[in-house]
């Protein structure tokens, strides 16, 4: 299981990649592996406000349905439309093509409360 060093991780198994005031979010390869084959992703609406650790979408696999929990607060500026037709991208490329949404951050301090790759690897070991 790989956890890229440039990301921050939440206990709810979401990752964040920060680029200035923008952040890309997705679910970790650990989460995708636990879920099994993902068959549907309910994406947030553009313009929606995410609250850290609040739910913002749903991911459905062949064996479970789980809520998506926002790792950070912000406003959704882009969603990964490719997931509508290819939800399996969460399984095949969790940190790349399988990103879920991009948000404009409202509180970058929240990132300090998230785990780094090593801490997340330990938490899921």
């Amino acid at each position: 299981m790989s956890y890229p060093d440039d990301l921050r991780y939440s206990k709810e198994h979401e990752w964040v990649r920060v680029d200035g005031s923008r952040a890309t979010i997705g679910i970790t390869s650990f989460a995708a592996d636990e879920l099994g084959d993902v068959v549907f992703v309910e994406l947030p609406e553009i313009g929606a406000t995410l609250n850290q650790f609040g739910t913002f979408g749903v991911v459905e696999s062949v064996k479970a349905v789980s809520d998506l929990y926002a790792p950070i607060s912000g406003e959704v500026v882009e969603v990964n439309e490719a997931l509508r037709d290819a939800p399996e991208l969460l399984n095949t490329d969790a940190y790349g093509e399988g990103w879920i949404a991009k948000v404009e951050l409202t509180d970058t301090d929240q990132l300090d409360g998230l785990m780094d790759a090593a801490a997340y690897a330990e938490a899921t070991a």
């Binding site: 309910e42 459905e60 479970a64 349905v65 809520d67």
Partner: protein
């Protein structure tokens, strides 16, 4: 020994968590007069005594010889094959088809039902059915709230008042506000919902309107759909299924969700059901549909088979986040509707709808030309018509004593509609029935 798994300490902890002092407090909403202890239960009887007592009670039923009662439930001819099909033990005794490998017959019958409802409504996906038209309508409103992420719903006053009460009940828990859009009930008005009033609605998840509406009037469904869509709301059409053989299909005029009472399709009229609720929608909304869906698929050897599908919406997987917490469907009544639709076929259904429409006109015409009644509204109607009949509440009661049910007294629902009867006709309404009503109203003039 006791079979209760809970100790007194367990109970005390649960009561504490809920925040009540005693188990008795949980039943505080139930009036004392209907509690088990309050009943005067007669002593036990042997079988023949029970039969005699039930026969005596049944004898108190007043069987109408002639009835023009509709108002949401309609008396139609039910071909004998319907009872024959639903009486088969494979269907009558089967449980919910969780195991597709032993439930192909039940699953296929539900799939056929869903397909027929899609064809009838011109929609893309239909559920396996709901309790009745009222609960299907309320579920449609909740579904629209999920789809739009809004928490107000608008309902036309032309939707059956019983449905609106059920809607209020469903919306009370999740704190969804229900806004009623008025119908023009003025004397000689058109008895329909004004699309302009819909445009003024703000931030509603859906507009619910009925076709024909409760007063028998034909609503401008296309205009209402457009007005709802202009506000970003879903349009929920509540329809009478046999009327779809003549009227434009909801899918064609822009309905997003269709809800209906399926009783006219081969289910006898009775008090409290079982009836069957129909719901159909567009494929884009399928994951927010409530209840059960059956899909067609292929097995590992490529053979066609049927399964419960998209179960991730359902409560046994999603618990409190399920699309609905009622996944019970009326499989046997849905099967009755399926058998009925197949028995009468598309032409037969059209004949039923046409005869109902023709007899409703004959009925209204006969009463009008005898000077006994006049139409309460302008505009078009189909199988049911609101007529002004002077002193109608008293005459309705008098006629009922003689075995004639002169429709429904609308004043009971809407005080503005004094002296107005809602009279329905179906293909079972004979010319003699109409002559009988005319004569009885003459005598009570």
């Amino acid at each position: 020994m006791t079979y209760s798994p809970h100790t007194d300490a367990d109970r005390a902890r649960m009561l504490d968590a809920v925040g009540v002092a005693s188990v008795e407090d949980l039943f505080a909403d139930i009036p004392a007069g209907v509690r088990a202890g309050a009943w005067a239960v007669p002593p036990p009887l042997v079988e023949q005594e029970v039969r005699a007592e039930l026969a005596r009670l049944a004898g108190r039923n007043r069987i109408a010889e002639v009835s023009f009662l509709g108002a949401g439930a309609y008396r139609h001819l039910i071909p004998s094959v319907v009872g024959e099909v639903i009486g088969r033990s494979e269907f009558a005794t089967s449980y919910t088809p969780y195991q597709p490998e032993v439930s192909q017959g039940t699953l296929q019958s539900i799939y056929e039902f869903q397909s027929l409802i899609c064809e009838l409504t011109d929609m893309e996906v239909a559920t396996a059915s709901h309790y009745d038209g009222a609960t299907a309508t309320a579920e449609a409103a909740l579904m629209a709230c999920r789809l739009t992420r809004r928490s107000r719903v608008a309902v036309s006053a032309g939707v059956n008042p019983d449905y609106r009460r059920v809607l209020e009940t469903y919306c009370a828990g999740p704190s969804i506000e229900v806004v009623v859009v008025p119908v023009d009930l003025a004397d000689g008005g058109d008895g329909t919902t004004d699309p302009a009033a819909v445009q003024a609605l703000d931030d509603v998840a859906c507009l619910i309107a009925a076709q024909p509406n409760y007063y028998g009037q034909l609503e401008p469904m296309r205009e209402l759909a457009d007005a709802a869509h202009a506000t970003g709301a879903q349009f929920v059409a509540v329809v009478e299924p046999t009327s779809l053989a003549l009227l434009e299909a909801p899918g064609a005029y822009g309905a997003d969700i269709v809800a209906a009472e399926g009783q006219p399709l081969g289910i006898p009229i009775n008090f409290c059901g079982p009836y069957v609720g129909l719901m159909a929608a567009r494929m884009v909304s399928v994951r927010q549909m409530p209840g059960r869906l059956v899909g067609a698929t292929r097995d590992a050897q490529g053979r066609k088979g049927y399964v419960l599908t998209l179960q991730a919406r359902e409560q046994h997987i999603r618990r409190e986040k399920a699309a609905s917490n009622i996944c019970t469907n009326q499989a046997l009544m849905a099967l009755a509707a399926t058998a009925y639709l197949i028995a009468v076929g598309p032409n037969g259904l059209r004949e039923v709808a046409e005869l109902s429409m023709t007899q409703a006109r004959h009925l209204a015409g006969a009463l009008e030309s005898a000077g006994l009644a006049e139409r309460r509204f302008g505009g078009a109607y189909l199988n049911e018509v609101a007529l002004r009949v002077p002193d109608s509440a008293r005459r309705h009661a008098t006629l009922a004593e003689r075995g004639i049910v002169a429709g429904h007294v609308l004043e009971r629902d809407e005080p503005m509609l004094r002296d107005t009867l809602l009279l329905a006709a179906t293909e079972l309404t004979t010319d003699d029935d109409i002559a009988c009503l005319v004569a009885a109203l003459e005598e009570t003039r």
